[in-house]
């Protein structure tokens, strides 16, 4: 169950998308999200689907990998979908028992589900094709202007990259502790909110303790390897734009324009 979370899981293959500058991918993802919210028509869906399919194809990451991230939000999707379906006022399409479903409800539920699903798939393309280090390098570089107003950009980026590195380890650890407590008779499927919360204590306390221990060890290991903040640091993989990145920027802007045009026309 926990292993389904795809966040921070880099998929190591060599593809055009993998080789793009992370700043391009960050910018692209941002534009992609804007496009998603601009599109509210079948034509917009079609355009986004085509774009997404193209990028997935280029990335060489198996489609099943991206869909896996959806399992985690399935419940959220169902609930949010139901809310939209039943609670949107408007012209009734059909009536289920006493609740009537409106045309507008169907439309907004579909739109919501479409946006959520595409959002997850789109952002997971970014994390699947970019190593956490590249991602944080990209963020650090893109946000470096903030340094002037004393935002510790390097530190934040380092924190993020470490967090991403440890997510899979902590997930595995959660699994282990859960099993160990189940072997001591713990029941994680108790009913009722308070009972559920109580049952989580034997899982969460050891998890926190372990996370702190790891943090301590890691800080020591980083210090031992001469880490002393961002000052005077060089980069193994410095970010340089290449021609393909320029092309990608152009394509991203084109996609934005196209989706705005589609949204205005239809």
């Amino acid at each position: 169950m926990l292993k389904d979370i795809t966040l921070g899981q880099y998929y190591p293959v060599d593809s055009v998308i993998h080789r793009l500058d992370p700043r391009v991918k960050l910018f692209g993802t941002l534009i992609y999200i804007i496009c998603l919210f601009v599109s509210d028509h079948v034509a917009g869906f079609a355009l986004m689907t085509a774009l997404l399919a193209g990028v997935i194809f280029l990335s060489k990451v198996p489609f099943s990998y991206m869909v896996r991230g959806l399992k985690a939000i399935l419940l959220l999707l169902v609930i949010a979908g139901a809310f939209n379906l039943f609670l949107t006022p408007g012209e009734a399409a059909f009536t289920l028992w006493k609740i009537s479903v409106t045309r507008q409800g169907i439309r907004s539920a579909l739109l919501m589900i479409f946006r959520m699903v595409y959002l997850i798939i789109g952002t997971s393309i970014m994390t699947l094709t970019t190593t956490p280090n590249q991602l944080t390098d990209g963020l650090e570089k893109s946000l470096s202007v903030l340094n002037y107003i004393h935002v510790p950009v390097h530190e934040i980026a380092m924190m993020m990259s470490i967090a991403l590195r440890f997510i899979p380890i902590l997930i595995e650890e959660t699994d282990k502790i859960m099993k160990a407590q189940m072997a001591r008779g713990a029941d994680f499927e108790k009913r009722g909110l308070i009972n559920k919360a109580k049952a989580m204590v034997p899982l969460l306390v050891p998890l926190f303790v372990s996370a702190f221990r790891r943090a301590n060890d890691l800080a020591l290991a980083m210090e031992a390897r001469c880490y002393h903040g961002g000052e005077g640091r060089t980069k193994m993989k410095p970010l340089h734009y290449r021609r393909v990145d320029g092309v990608a920027y152009l394509l991203i802007l084109l996609a934005l324009v196209a989706s705005i045009v589609v949204a205005v026309l239809f």
Binding site: N133, L220, A221, A224, R225, T234, M236
Partner: protein, 281 residues
Amino acid sequence: MGIIEAKDLVHEYYRRDEEGNVESIETAVDHVDLSVQPGQFISILGHNGSGKSTLAKHINALLLPTEGTLLVDGKDTSVAANELSIRRNAGMVFQNPDNQIIASVVEEDVGFGPENIGVPTEEIWQRVEKALKSVGMWEYRTHSPNRLSGGQKQRVAIAGVMAMEPKCIILDEPTAMLDPDGRKEVIKTAHELNKKKGVTIILITHYMEEVVDSDYVYVMEKGAVVMQGSPREIFSQVDALKKYRLDVPQVTLLADELRKAGMNIPAGILTREELLEALCR
């Protein structure tokens, strides 16, 4: 002069209560003298709580002496300005393989140290290649550390240190969390680096069979060095080793028992072949 020179080294941990008053003082390192020559392979034996890890952290300037001095490559660790150059010259590998790998890709992790000390990009790549090849992990350079075995992760950690081109590497119980295959892998790698690259190695462990091929062995107990000498000198004192609850290898133990039973077997048997030869004479 040696590459590491400890003189009368003392380290005390202060335990404080909630108001910050000193509750108790624990002497983790108790007047230790240590001298390591460049190119040597040194082992420090002792069980948990014997002070061997505290001592190790001094060599990397992660801890500073309460009393006495420690010179690494001629530089005093207690001088703050020496900190970075000491850490570069005396790299450190820790026990838990997961908690010392920083990046999510093997090569990026090996590049982390050189990045910190400001090595130019092109040279970082050369160093990463050299370091990964020296531990036999070059084929895994684009892998995620999470998919590697414990022994492989430790080799990546060693490469991460090698990439800083240190004169000396301190391995602080690098095999304690590994299976037998992983343990052999790591010890073999350490010996190879020592022989082929001339790196000084300080191996801290509680497994006696890992120190057989060292040049010199220190045994620690309650913060103090209680035995020191060549492996053969150490292994010939089976009773003392048992007293310190160390894990005497089966053949050494057997040879000692047989000698006590009146058989003519020399002291300090290290390997199966030696015992066989002694028995067949």
